[in-house]
């Protein structure tokens, strides 16, 4: 039978990486001094599974490495070895090393690395320090030494009376022996009790067997009886008495070793050809090719599809012979269809959702390593790790989050001495918090460090030319300055963070995901960085708005309010910018028709509507002609289908087939400044003349 083992590789890689995550977080727990049998067990199990799988699937380098790991962990588990900080360190390094090995294997490369050899040696040294017989992964090389021929074997087999109760049938063993050669059996019945005393579940018989055949080794016979050697009296003698002595040297375990060895070799052969194939495949494709989905989500999906089918059949029954008096039923059916569609959409989206713990889980380790590096004591608290978000968003948020956590460690949390001097506990706390708020996921990174220094930031911003002296800024606006390119207040540029490019990139990454970032800080008390992200990138709740004959979509999350312009005074400010005063706040006004160069009969301002939108804590009022409906918008890329247009993040197709463009609020805010400054230069935008043509 030929089974393609490659089909199990991807699952193996995925579960191994998960196992490594478990191993890492459990090691972190040990680090904190919580030596708990279950924690040690879970580390052992992870190493053990990886070893078993890698050996089975032919990844010898990984198997060899994890074997040493496992041996050591087994000793810890058996409490014959004390776990030390050194061992934990080595184990954590091994987790990294194994991760590298897994990704190398995934890409069809060799998992043999210098690091794994080094670590293996370190472990071996620890093991050898106590006992000299620490094992190696290869089974002892047994030699199948049946070179000498024997005419056959005489076997005495007397099982314990309870043998069949372990599922071992003497008959099965005899059948196997009969496959090796000609078998003669003599049964002894003298142990049989009287019928009254006979327990039918027991075996009272024993046998003398003769097995004839010149090619049969003692090891083969021992293999047949391998499972029962401790539950039976077994004597195997060569029928040719002279060769007995030579054959006795072969231990059954060695025999197994030999057969295993040949199979390992065979596996490796298989693997070589497998590697060849996977190299030709694109790895990138494979990576995103699979997603693990909880069965409940799939069930829900199936359930919803079931509902949809019912609605469909109901509607087709109505449509078959439609009479006007059935209109109510038709409408009812259509409503149901709308609901089913919405549910179906939600179920499908939920399949792409993963808990944020996938991203959070890397931080305990990072905090530990950084804490060592920076000589700071920090405790990490995680809240809401089970909050789910879209897989793509999750993958893309990893790096910005890492940067922010590093920043909190580096710039936020003070050294233990400083903390004590400030009357705080010497251990700082960084809290990672995730929660759902409406259609968004909100991630907060909270530290109880020294907080942002308002004056220092302002000073720096002025020095870097990011800000004019004398401008009046709110705290919030000042904190936002650190998100600008080229800003870094760390007195020394450290390895950990801060070359003044980071925060800018963080902000950009988050904006690209359609999210926003906000900073709140109390000097001496700590900082809170709040990231708001859409749950998914594929769909948004949108507000449709009309400007002349064009329809635009505003993401509902960025709309603060909509109002009639009638009675509101629009003031001209310096630089050609229009402002309105809204509840003691001046908001720049943007005319969408101007920004996108839509030639329209100018609607008088009094009849226009103003939509106040916000992005990154900056507000603008957008002037439009009319507000239409609110609906869910499936985002289509404009770049892929046409080209990038400033101020537009994408497009969608409406129910009537028309194309509507989705406003990019962040860019509109930027653009508003630009357009207003060049107000006199007409037609400076790149808006496509006819979006339908796109």
């Amino acid at each position: 039978m030929s089974i393609d083992m490659e089909q199990f590789h991807q699952v193996f890689f995925e579960e191994s990486l998960e196992g490594l995550d478990v191993m890492e977080s459990s090691l972190m727990e040990l680090q904190e001094g919580k030596v708990d049998a279950e924690v040690v067990n879970s580390i052992f199990r992870a190493a053990h599974s990886i070893k078993g799988g890698s050996a089975t699937f032919g990844f010898a380098a990984v198997a060899e490495f994890t074997h040493v790991l496992e041996t050591l962990l087994d000793e810890v588990r058996q409490e014959t070895r004390q776990i030390t900080a050194e061992i934990i360190d080595l184990l954590l390094q091994s987790v990294d090393c194994l991760r590298d090995q897994m990704s190398a294997l995934e890409q069809g490369e060799s998992a043999d690395s210098a690091q794994s050899h080094e670590l293996k040696q370190s472990f071996q040294k620890i093991l050898d320090a106590d006992d000299s017989d620490a094992g190696s992964v290869k089974p002892d090389q047994g030699v199948d030494s049946n070179s000498e021929s024997s005419p056959g074997w005489s076997i005495f087999f007397k099982p314990e009376i309870e043998i069949v109760q372990s599922g071992n049938e003497p008959l099965r063993m005899f059948r196997e022996l009969a496959l090796l050669g000609k078998l003669e059996t003599t049964v002894h019945m003298d142990a049989l009790p009287s019928f009254a005393a006979l327990e039918p579940e027991n075996c009272y018989l024993y046998w003398d067997l003769k097995l004839f055949g010149i090619d049969i080794s003692e090891a083969q016979i021992k293999e047949v009886f391998e499972w029962v050697e401790d539950e039976a009296e077994i004597r195997i003698e060569s029928l040719d008495a002279e060769s007995t002595a030579a054959d006795e040297a072969i231990d059954s375990a060695e025999g197994m070793g030999a057969s295993q060895l040949s199979e390992v070799a065979q596996e490796e052969g298989n693997n070589a050809s497998v590697t060849e194939i996977s190299k030709t495949n694109s790895f990138a494709k494979r990576e995103s090719a699979s997603i693990r989905v909880g069965i409940d989500k799939v069930d829900e999906l199936i359930n919803t599809v079931g509902e949809l089918v019912i609605t469909q059949s109901m509607l087709s029954a109505v449509g078959e012979d439609f009479q006007m008096d059935q209109l109510a039923r038709l409408q009812h059916g259509l409503n149901q269809l709308a609901q089913n569609t919405r549910e179906l959409q939600e179920s499908v989206m939920r399949i792409r959702m993963l808990p944020i713990s996938f991203s959070f889980n890397r931080y305990p380790r990072m905090i530990r390593d950084l804490g060592k590096q920076l000589d700071k004591k920090v405790e990490l608290v995680m809240v809401g790790e089970q909050t789910e978000l879209d897989k793509t968003v999750l993958e893309k948020i990893g790096d910005p989050l890492t940067h922010l956590v590093r920043n909190s460690m580096d710039h936020g949390i003070e050294s233990p001495e400083e903390r004590i001097a400030a009357g705080k506990s010497e251990t700082g706390i960084i809290t990672l918090k995730a929660s759902h708020q409406g259609g968004n996921i909100v991630i907060e990174i909270i530290d109880d460090g020294k907080g942002l220094d308002r004056e220092k930031i302002l000073e720096k911003a002025i020095e870097k030319g990011l800000q004019q002296r004398g401008d009046h800024l709110t705290d919030e606006q000042i904190y936002q300055l650190i998100l600008k390119a080229g800003f870094s207040t760390a007195e020394q540029v450290s390895d950990v963070s801060g070359r003044g490019v980071g925060m800018d990139v963080v902000r950009r990454n988050i904006q690209e995901l359609g999210g926003s970032i906000n900073i709140d800080s109390q000097q001496g008390q700590g900082s809170t960085i709040t990231i708001r992200l859409p749950l998914t990138l594929a769909i948004l709740d949108g507000q449709l708005a009309r400007v002349s004959d064009q329809i635009f979509v505003f993401p509902l999350v960025s709309i603060i309010e909509s109002l009639e312009l009638q009675g509101i005074e629009v003031r001209k400010a310096a630089g050609g910018c229009d402002l309105i005063k809204l509840r003691e706040e001046y908001i720049p006004v943007v005319y969408l028709s101007e920004v996108f160069g839509i030639s329209s009969q100018p609607t008088s301002l009094e009849n226009s509507l103003l939509v106040v939108v916000e992005s990154n804590n900056e507000k603008i009022g957008v002037v439009i002609d009319d507000l239409l409906s609110q609906q869910q918008i499936v985002i289509k890329s404009l770049e892929e289908n046409y080209q990038k247009v400033e101020g537009i993040s994408g497009a969608t197709i409406l129910g009537d087939g028309r194309v509507a463009l989705i406003a990019d609020i962040g860019e509109l805010i930027k653009l508003s400044g630009a357009t207003h400054l060049n107000k006199m230069e007409a037609g400076s935008t790149t808006f496509p003349a006819d979006p339908q043509a796109a």
Binding site: I3, F12, S49, A55, S166, R175, W227, M256
Partner: protein, 120 residues
Amino acid sequence: MSVVLAVDDSASMRQMVSFTLKTAGFEVIEAVDGVDALAKAKGKQVDLVVSDVNMPNMDGIQLISELRSLPQYKFTPMLMLTTESGGDKKTAGKAAGATGWIVKPFNPDQLVKTVKKVLG
């Protein structure tokens, strides 16, 4: 058709065992740990149990001992999947009532051969 209960917390190993045995014509029920396996074995009589040893919640050895204590599994063959370093596991497994073991790493052919041998 004989029914095999394949128990392993590792999805890749479980899939490998399950796929191999199904290809060989057996009906296979999968379980992710001892607790899951025990519930499934109680729900449907199986003809053979192939179980990993190291598993969370309930390990293979305890599973075998629990199953063996049930009248309907008194004589059912039960195999452990164990590594070559698992000498004391073999002993513990045997004491719990295991029929025998398959040594990891094994290949599909070995697995089928052993299973056919046990099921006769």
